[in-house]
Amino acid sequence: MSMLAIERLSVRRGGRTVIDNIALSVEPGEILGVVGKNGCGKTTLLACVAGVLTPRDGRVIIAGASVWGARGERQRARRALGYVPEGADPPGFLLGNELWSLCAAARGATPPSQALRDALGLDELRDTALERMSLGQRRRACLGAAFVGPPKLLVLDEPDNGLDARRLDAIVGLLKAHAAEGGATILASHDAALLDQLGARIHAMRDPSPTIRSDD
């Protein structure tokens, strides 16, 4: 069974078809890199997978449960995923530890392990409000929240954005370890070197005009 299966997915935003009839899958232990020009629909695709955007048509199945299915199924699907949006913008008044605790409570998991906290340098962000963090720090806080559980599927939108070299290495290590344990990852990135380092399978998105159609 695929960890992530996207079937005939179509999304319209602002009266425009942004994604048209995409189908792809990610297997356990696999890392899928979504690449393409700015505005080609990478962020929209990942937001749809994470259950934040409603598709016009099609299905997103995570670990056998539909993200937009009946209530129980929907919850199962979403509890199996960890999402970092492009803007890394949870409510700014939350402290780092409050964000991780919320994710832990929602997934019925414990707060981030010491190993995860060390890798991402989360301890120094524990008592800091997200609105006072730099972009890189905010991204690290969001990555920490996404890894809590850990979830079966990671949905990461430009996770390398704003990170320094040391933390970038840590992310590569964490994602490889997650894959080695059978977890799957779908991430959007403009950094070919990062995707290379991760050994990611590449999914190229086409230009949005007039519509996007997947290669898969």
Partner: protein
């Protein structure tokens, strides 16, 4: 036009920008306080025929009323004073050369001028003695506005499930985002209680009659107290949306968290108002118990009604206006139910609010 401006022109320009960064925001905040006090003044001085000197005289000779009035004004005005005293909006300007005395003089003048309703009450009521009271209270306001609470290390939250986490997050948002609105709301709650108490006292009401009239007065006066807080609760509901959706948090859990946050504020404001009413009225404990019970149930009903207002308007570009109008409608509905049906009206209001909440249209953000 020359490339270089004279030192005098540069100072004037600096002061102009400083005024827009410090005085104008303080004036905007004070305007909300003025509107609130105008509503309360209409209740206190309108139908009961009370004059300014009656109220200031009561305050000077009755420690409870005097204390309640002073605390109310401190709570209501300190958030505005903080903008003038800390002048955080002008932090960047301080890195540029500019006048040092003029901003202090302007801020001091604004600190007094923006207290217009308070100054007018005391000068009209007590003349020169009133000015002395204003001066003493202004010093207290200055001290409170300058105080910065120490920052404590946050504990690791031990939330057991997402509902508990979401409710706690709403409470944190209130503490961190709505501090000024809460302080102002507490002041207006005291004022609501004072107004209700005076209404009951001057009309010599007791028992259920006192409860119906008092609860109606509290419901109306609390409207300006709750609007600022409601907008913060809505902002939290909106900013947690993507997180909640990606975590699989149900809509019902999210609505419960919104109702919880509003109810917490409404109940706290009502408890403050009841305490203030108890201080100013000579009513017996039975009357206060009636007033307390009625007001608390009305507060719960208002919480559900206001939650309906927020959730129905959550995607509207005119959310602030809809929140204000919606809150007024909810308060008006409470007054109408109480006025028409007495004690049965309490149940009718709560039932109507609950029905309105349960029939809130489902808004799915970003629906394709």
């Amino acid at each position: 036009m020359t490339a270089e401006s004279t030192p005098r022109a540069a100072r004037a320009q600096w002061l102009d920008v400083w005024t827009r960064a410090v005085i104008v925001p303080a004036w905007r905040r004070a305007a909300a306080v003025w509107v609130g006090t105008a509503i309360v003044a209409a209740v206190i001085f309108g139908p009961s025929g009370m004059r300014a000197s009656d109220l200031t005289g009561l305050a000077l000779h009755h420690a409870g009323i005097g204390g309640a009035l002073a605390v109310t004004w401190l709570l209501v005005f300190v958030p505005t004073a903080r903008l003038l005293v800390r002048a955080e909006g002008a932090a960047y300007l301080r890195t540029l050369p500019g006048p040092t005395i003029a901003p202090i003089v302007l801020a001091a003048a604004a600190l007094v001028a923006l207290q217009l309703p308070w100054v007018a009450l005391w000068v009209v009521g007590e003349g020169l003695l009133g000015l002395g009271v204003v001066a003493v209270v202004t010093l207290a306001i200055l001290a409170l506005a300058s105080w910065r609470p120490p920052q404590l290390r946050a504990k690791w939250p031990g939330w057991r499930h997402e509902g508990e986490a979401l409710r706690a997050i709403h409470v944190r948002a209130l503490r961190r985002r709505a501090g000024d609105a809460l302080v102002r709301g507490a002041g207006l709650s005291v004022l609501a209680g004072v107004a209700a108490g005076l209404f009951v006292r001057n009309n010599q009401l007791a028992g259920l009659d006192a409860a119906v009239v008092g609860a109606s007065v509290i419901a109306i006066v609390l409207v300006p107290a709750e609007v600022g807080v409601l907008l913060v609760i809505l902002a939290t509901h909106r900013t947690t949306a993507w997180l909640a959706m990606s975590l699989g948090t149900s809509r019902v859990t999210r609505i419960v968290a919104v109702v919880y946050a509003i109810a917490l504020v409404q109940l706290a404001a009502t408890v403050i108002a009841i305490a203030a009413a108890y201080v100013v009225t000579d009513a017996d404990l039975r009357t206060i118990a009636w007033l307390g019970g009625t007001s608390l149930v009305v507060a719960l009903g208002s919480a559900m009604g206001c939650a309906r207002v927020l959730l129905a308007a959550e995607d509207s570009p005119t959310i602030a206006a809809r929140t204000v109008v919606g809150s007024i409608v909810v308060a008006a509905l409470a007054v109408l139910c109480l006025g028409l049906f007495g004690e049965l009206g309490i149940g009718a209001f709560v039932a109507t609010s609950a029905l309105a909440l349960f029939t809130t249209p489902v808004a799915t953000p970003e629906r394709a």
